[in-house]
Symmetry: C2
Subunit: 467 residues, 2 copies
């Protein structure tokens, strides 16, 4: 593999052999404390080098060094937890030391007027001269959950479940929102990158990397604007051919665009232009960060969908009606049951229930949850039904639990994904965690489930049309 | 006050002096166990009477009675935790005992074909003959958080925070979703009613009651269809004149409508007809249950909004861009700052920040959170700015905390509501709880905040036009 292939080029960022934290501190009110804590808390297995010219004692129980050049071994990744004015000299030092990757949190560069632009240009010149890739400046850093790398300044992010969803966010704030929703929705994380001012790592570079990354199944993007739209769209189209790319974008109205401009130095374009371009590139466009995360979960967990027919079983009509309406408006079908399937289901559901799709089995199915398993097993055998949805109100620890493991088993038996709308407070989401661990893609509102399933269906249809 | 005024007519349901639970049990796998536990756990202050013909021992440590007629005192509210076939005789007994309210969980009535329709008619005849009001059948019951009444079968609902949001849901499942989201969003509950088959308590009855209820500030509705649309709309219009009414409705597409029909016996009408009628009646129509709960929170917490101008301050542009875009599309203004306000803000924000609206103060404001307070204090003095939004990424327990109490104080000083988009996982929502306790209306995603604020603004505008 050539040294500048996408996987090789960004490897020092995502799979470093060693990490140095410049500005590391024992003072918990310093960014350098939180940053080193984050690196340590992820369980990184290589050497970690705290750098602080003023410390001769260990920092957070690790041997500390006055500067990068004093480190005895090789340094792959340098985390710069220092103010803007100190960054350029430190990057020079890292270049001399042979570091290949860097993460710069500080603002005060391209977003901060002419002087900042100049400073960022100098930074890029140094980095490019030694083939060093920089995340930021003006960002919250990056994570690789599978590689035990937490190069942010938030240790709690180390406990995100590991999985196949990778996210690139132009905004650190939206990045925080996405990571928080990923924790709430129990979406397994692969890579996360807050790209900030994009010194020399752009959306396109990361799309090229993530397209080839075997640990990434789904790519999520939050974008406010892009410098080289042609290169971005080319990279996105290529990535979307091999794995789903989900986007949330903003900045198309007047005040929104102005905020974007004063932010990371990008000018947003008209919404309709981007909308068309995203569609052309095969990118799934979501309505917001929650939709992005919920759709990412469906794509990551449910995998391939053979068509657009859904079977839905419930003990409570309301949420099923909400789901059915969103699905029907999005062109997702809820096929009528064949006479055989209908007759089979009629043989075991309550006498006053109708053997139709959606199937309402009333409170009987809440007390006898096996009715979900039996009906779904029969319905998934029908050819024009490609996945199943169960709607269930949590017993909140006192009432019955949904039989998630058996339900997931029925999905696997038929090779068709299964979904669960499990209504209950997040405070009790052990129940959702159990369902997802079993392989059921679960949501706590009907809208989240329906919108995600609609996106998943459209994605499967678009892929089928391409093939 | 006449005996049949709305407040008097439903008083035995919401403020009973005593409660009997028919079917009460010591067996935790019985509905009658969970139901009695729920009544007890709410801290109800009057007598509670477990009824079970087969028990001579105390039930859950309370003296039990073989039947309602054996109770020594008066019974106001009877909770029927028994199967469908046993309900009619029990309601006869309750009528003889002089009970004035009842909650019936069991299905098997109007939704269950001709025999069920007949059974429900008999039930209504008995209840009407003695002026007894019945919630259900085919429902999950009702709550009055302020009156310490939990007539559901879920004890955890007793710990919902108490407040001014009352909710009427046709669907028990959507009711569960709404209550769960209320717990997540920390919305204070007043009344909750799952009306199910609506034996003799309809949407309109509850709207008439809630319009007059001094403990209710905001009314939420989930509706799949309605029998007497004219009466509903009249009651809704009257209620919306005195307090906001927020609705989520569904069942307008083919499969959705069919599910609704087989459910509580209602036929849904065309979406456009309802949409127009809701608008005419002054009802706020939301896009789903999450939007319903988030908008209910804004209406309950923020109260009156003097106009449609918003000031927004952030340390991270992305979420502010998302919010600005939703607001601008909804016709909510983000006014330019006056020269005086702009100059004043310029005097203390970082030099490379622009003193505009939205105001991006970069990471400086994350470390020096007083910048939010100073800028908001100055901006809220501007006449065409009617509320403030702060965007802040949670430090996740390690970084800085948003100064919610001081921020709320600035809002109160200017008599203008303040909002917070606090991005962080629900697992750490002590931070959101603290903000809301201080009087800041907080959300964990930009979309939730923006959509709720757009609804609140439209409501204030409609009210201003009426006046």
């Amino acid at each position: 593999m050539a040294a500048d292939s996408p996987l090789e080029g960004l490897r020092p960022l995502f799979y470093p052999r060693s990490i140095a934290v410049v500005g590391a501190s024992n003072n918990p009110f310093k960014l350098g404390f939180q940053s080193l804590l984050a690196v340590k808390s992820a369980g990184f297995e290589g050497p970690i080098y705290p750098i602080n010219p003023h410390s001769e004692e260990p920092i957070q129980e690790l041997e500390a060094y006055p500067s990068l050049k004093d480190i005895p071994g090789q340094v792959d990744l340098v985390v710069y937890a220092i103010p803007d004015t100190m960054v350029l000299p430190a990057v020079h030092e890292a270049a001399a030391k042979g570091a290949r990757g860097g993460v710069i949190f500080a603002g005060g560069f391209r977003e901060a007027g002419p002087e900042g632009v100049k400073l960022q240009e100098e930074l890029v010149a140094v980095a490019d001269s030694v083939n060093m890739r920089l995340i930021g400046p003006n960002c919250i850093g990056m994570l690789n959950a599978r590689g035990k790398v937490n190069a942010t300044f938030a240790a709690p992010l180390s406990w995100l479940p590991s999985g196949g969803f990778s996210m690139v966010s132009q905004s650190g704030g939206v990045g925080t929102a996405v990571l928080s929703l990923m924790a709430d929705e129990l979406v397994g994380a692969s890579k996360f990158v807050s790209i900030g001012n994009r010194a020399n790592v752009e959306f396109a570079d990361l799309l090229e990397y993530l397209a080839e990354d075997p640990d990434t199944n789904v790519v999520g993007l939050f974008m406010e604007g892009v410098d080289d739209a042609r290169r971005f769209l080319t990279a996105a189209r290529r990535c979307a051919r091999v794995k789903p790319v989900v986007i949330c974008s903003a900045g198309y109205t007047e005040k929104a665009a102005r905020t974007s401009l004063s932010h990371t130095g990008s000018v947003a374009s008209s919404e309709s232009v981007y909308k068309g371009a995203f569609h052309q590139a095969g990118i799934i466009r979501t309505s917001g960060v929650q939709d992005l995360v919920c759709t990412g979960k469906a794509l990551e967990m449910a995998g391939h969908l053979g068509g657009n027919g859904v079977f839905m079983a419930t003990h409570t009509a309301g949420p099923a009606i909400v789901i059915a309406e969103i699905l029907e408006k999005a062109g997702v079908r809820i096929p009528s049951l064949s006479p055989e399937v209908s007759a089979s289901i009629a043989s075991f559901i309550p006498t006053h229930a109708h053997p139709e799709n959606p199937l309402d089995m009333f409170a009987h199915a809440w007390t006898d949850t096996s009715l979900y398993l039996r009906s779904t097993d029969v319905a998934l055998a029908q050819e024009d039904i490609h996945c199943a949805v169960a709607v269930f109100a949590s017993g909140m620890g006192a009432g019955p639990a949904f039989p998630a493991a058996e339900y997931a088993g029925i999905g696997r038996k038929h090779g068709k994904p299964v979904f669960l709308c499990l209504m209950g407070p997040t405070a009790l989401n052990q129940e959702m965690a159990a369902a997802q661990t079993a392989g059921v893609c679960a949501y706590n509102t009907p809208e989240k489930l329906a919108q995600a399933l609609a996106h998943l269906t459209h994605w499967a249809q678009a892929r089928a049309e391409r093939e």
